[in-house]
């Protein structure tokens, strides 16, 4: 075995600027997937306040929805979910071997659609927060 040394970031994600579509799709998909898992727990926690009665639940929801931060996080959650679903469909096609030559284009399409849907959702989510 030759002598070796650590070439540092070249070995890992230090080259992110040079990543291509498929790599970004992978990173975003992992990220959004785990954000969704995280949200699932939050979601359960919030819903379970209903165990302490209807009023408690209503109070919790009203308080949370009154916070601007929560409204912004909801927009983020929507973006994350939409991207995960669209790119998930892209990955299903990839698994079926359909349109592999245009996998980069379908990634860009996912990103653009996600952006559009997110922007369109902003009025709904922010309404009444101020």
């Amino acid at each position: 075995m030759s002598q070796s040394y650590n070439r540092g970031t070249i070995e890992s994600f230090g080259r992110w600027r040079e990543f291509s579509a498929g790599m970004w799709a992978w990173i975003f998909h992992k990220f959004t997937g785990w954000v969704l898992v995280g949200y699932l727990f939050t979601h359960i926690a919030v819903l379970s306040t209903a165990m302490e009665g209807a009023e408690m639940y209503t109070n919790t929801i009203v308080t949370l929805e009154g916070l601007l931060l929560v409204r912004i996080l909801e927009v983020g959650l929507l973006a994350v979910a939409v991207f995960h679903i669209l790119n998930g469909l892209r990955l299903l096609l990839v698994d079926l071997g359909v349109g592999l030559e245009s996998q980069d284009k379908s990634f860009y399409a996912s990103v653009i659609l996600t952006g559009a849907i997110t922007v369109a959702s902003v009025p709904t989510f922010i309404a009444g927060a101020f």
């Binding site: 075995m1 030759s2 002598q3 070796s4 040394y5 070439r7 070249i10 070995e11 890992s12 994600f13 080259r15 600027r17 040079e18 291509s20 579509a21 498929g22 790599m23 799709a25 992978w26 990955l91 990839v94 698994d95 079926l96 071997g97 592999l100 996998q103 980069d104």
Partner: protein
């Protein structure tokens, strides 16, 4: 160039002038004239040299080459050396490093052989991507051109990396034709249908350069992952109809083992860098489906 011997000046102009120059002795006049002529000639040569240099400068390309040599103390700390290589039409990255080695620094080390994308020995990390030096046109790259050894492999020296691990993965899939039965006459041809040949055509083009393996960050994280090239090799033979069911089953078992085909996360990095344009991800995905089909039973 400084090594050029000084040109001998003809003495004719001096001889002409000495006729009407009574006051100064003829010999001295001659000497003075010769000096002046020498001076002119020197200026002329210098101007020519400058012009040449300017022309060359205008047409050089800047390459930054990764340098490392564990055996030389001053080179144990990796660094980048910059070379200005005169550009010629059609010049490849390999041509540039060969020029740098031959003209500037004979210690610059890299593998190459065929110079025509056949032997697979000169895969480098060029401007942030795995590419074959001999198949990459200098004119298509942004300057300065960074030339580094393949990532995720140990560097032996300069651009030379240790390929042993890559070759081990390649060997692990039995990268040779191995039919269940051979025809009676051992040496008889074993013909393949045209359709079947078409199916494996792209996969046969692999030149074992290791570019794909180096680009794959799953292979980087999982030392036992077979990697795109080996899986493509496995595809080439698993899809070959002449091998027979037994061997095909064996191959599928190798393919679907823990560090086989399921490690692939369809990042398409390998497909993007393969210099032979092999649709690696497509082949891996097809093998995944074959593996599923093999194991699915609906009764």
């Amino acid at each position: 160039m400084s090594t050029q011997p000084p040109q001998q000046q003809s003495e004719e102009p001096a001889a002409e002038q000495s006729a009407d120059a009574e006051s100064t002795p003829a010999a001295q006049q001659r000497r003075e004239d010769k000096k002046a002529a020498d001076r002119d000639a020197r200026d002329e040569r210098q101007a020519e040299k400058d012009a040449n240099e300017a022309k060359a400068n205008e047409d050089t390309r800047e390459i930054k080459v990764f340098r490392y040599d564990p055996e030389v103390e001053e080179k144990q700390e990796p660094r980048f050396d910059t070379f200005h290589v005169p550009f010629t039409k059609g010049m490849t990255v390999l041509d540039a490093v060969i020029y740098a080695r031959d003209q500037f620094d004979p210690s610059l080390t890299f593998r190459h052989s065929c110079r025509q994308a056949v032997c697979g020995s000169d895969a480098f990390f060029i401007n942030g991507q795995q590419r074959l030096g001999c198949k990459t046109q200098i004119s298509e790259l942004e300057e300065p051109i960074r030339i580094e050894p393949l990532p995720h492999q140990d560097v032996v020296k300069d651009l030379v990396v240790d390929m042993d691990h890559f070759y081990e993965e390649m060997e692990a899939v039995d990268p040779y034709f191995d039919p269940d039965e051979t025809p009676d006459g051992e040496l008889e041809e074993q013909r393949q249908s045209r359709q079947n040949r078409e199916k494996v055509k792209m996969s046969t083009r692999c030149i074992w350069c290791g570019a794909c393996f180096s680009s794959c960050n799953i292979a980087a994280g999982d030392n036992e992952y077979l990697g795109p090239a080996a899986l493509n090799k496995a595809y080439r033979f698993a899809m070959d109809e002449r091998e027979g069911d037994q061997k095909t089953q064996d191959r599928l078992e190798t393919i679907e083992q823990e560090h086989g085909v399921w490690r692939c996360q369809t990042q398409f990095s390998c497909t993007n860098v393969c210099p032979k344009d092999i649709p690696l991800t497509e082949h891996i995905q097809e093998l995944k489906r074959e593996a599923v089909k093999k194991n699915l039973k609906f009764w």
